[in-house]
């Protein structure tokens, strides 16, 4: 049994308002692996991802992050897990540049990597816009941009391809593949068919 699991989840079950959302769920996430979680609406994909990101406590079972029972991201300097959820975490009154720079400085990201990611997602022209001027798709791309320069090893993505057109979907898949090649790992919940290498599928 190799101990290189980034996230190890054993026998998880989650209950909300007395209703069992999912039970007896186990998964192990390795380096360079992507686990895609599929299921119908309301099957608990978002709840599962939020539990694995440490936001919601599970009702029973055990989750080990990097072999720790308490999510080390909460106590470490650099982010270990990156989250892309339904909410964008973008402040409308600040410019796009300020929004991104805040996190870049927080995560101690090199300026070269920062600029490279901006170029990759062709966001240069938006940099001085107030973030409230962006459309839903552009805001999604902004979140993607933020996650692409995040130094975290594990990415947890909840429906990353919403609001993205076909071109941008390709860019998303591209980014995900690069992250996996750099020994990262991804947990992704999606309805969409994302053709990513080495994908392991779990259905709720």
């Amino acid at each position: 049994m190799n101990k290189d699991f980034l996230i190890k989840a054993q026998n998880l079950s989650f209950e909300r308002s007395g209703r069992i959302i999912f039970s007896s769920l186990s998964l192990n996430l390795e380096e360079g692996q992507i686990i895609i979680i599929k299921g119908k609406n309301g099957s608990g994909k978002t709840s599962l991802l939020r539990c694995l990101a440490g936001f919601t406590p599970i009702t029973s079972g055990k989750i080990l992050w990097f072999d720790n029972e308490i999510l080390p991201a909460f106590y470490s300097d650099k982010p270990l897990i990156a989250w892309l959820g339904h909410l964008d975490a973008i402040k409308g009154s600040l410019t796009v540049k300020d929004n991104l720079l805040f996190f870049a400085k927080m995560w101690s990201v090199e300026p070269s990597i920062f600029n490279e990611c901006i170029k990759k997602l062709s966001f240069e022209k938006f940099m001085n816009f107030p973030a409230s001027w962006l459309s839903a798709g552009e805001k999604r791309r902004l979140s993607l941009l933020r996650i692409s320069f995040c130094p975290a090893k594990v990415w947890i993505l909840d429906e990353p391809s919403t609001f993205l057109d076909n071109d941008n979907r390709e860019i998303l898949i591209d980014i995900m593949n690069i992250h996996l090649k750099n020994k990262g790992a991804i947990l992704c919940a999606t309805h969409d068919n994302l053709k990513v290498l080495n994908a392991l599928e779990i259905t709720l």
Partner: protein, 221 residues
Amino acid sequence: MKKFYRLILRDMHLVIKGSSDAGAALLFYLLAIIMFPLSSGTDTNLLTSIAGGAIWVAALFSSLLSLDRLFRSDFEDGSLEQLVLSGISLETIVLSKCFAHWLTNGLPIVILSPILAMIIGLDISYWWVLCSTLLLGTPSLTLIGATPAALSCAIGKGGVLTALIILPLMLPVLILGSGAITAEILGLGGSGHIYALAAILPLSLFVVPFLASKALRLGWE
């Protein structure tokens, strides 16, 4: 430590860019104090005797109005989750938001209080007591209100409910603060009240971050 400062800078930046109602809360402070002479007539003796209490009540209401939105914007747009995953504990986030709130609400209240004292006719010799009680009391007001503000994020709507919960908790600070001024005016010495106010501050600093972060986590469940 650096991250703490960055968080505060960000909140200040947001205030300047107008995405918060800090200025409105301060305007309300001025408006609230005007209501006292307008409603109680212009008998200067009457006004002087309630001056300390009136300023404190106005400060309380101004705090109350702006506390409701303390965590709401970051909670509702997902920024809180990003901050937590960036390696900042919720307790630190709570403290930084409280500090930023005090800088934009409590500190201006202290600085503006001499002007309000003039409006309501508080004698200049008591301005020192007024400012020191406000200086010690406004951080406690912010901290005490932080937990109900976090709870209102968990409920999803705030408004009157948050005010209803915060108000009884703030009453001891109000009683001590205005009591100090009244005691000075009566010549009894307000130092006891001030010491008690000074004791509440570290107590709330210790207890509130823990409870407020529990409340924010409750909102995530």
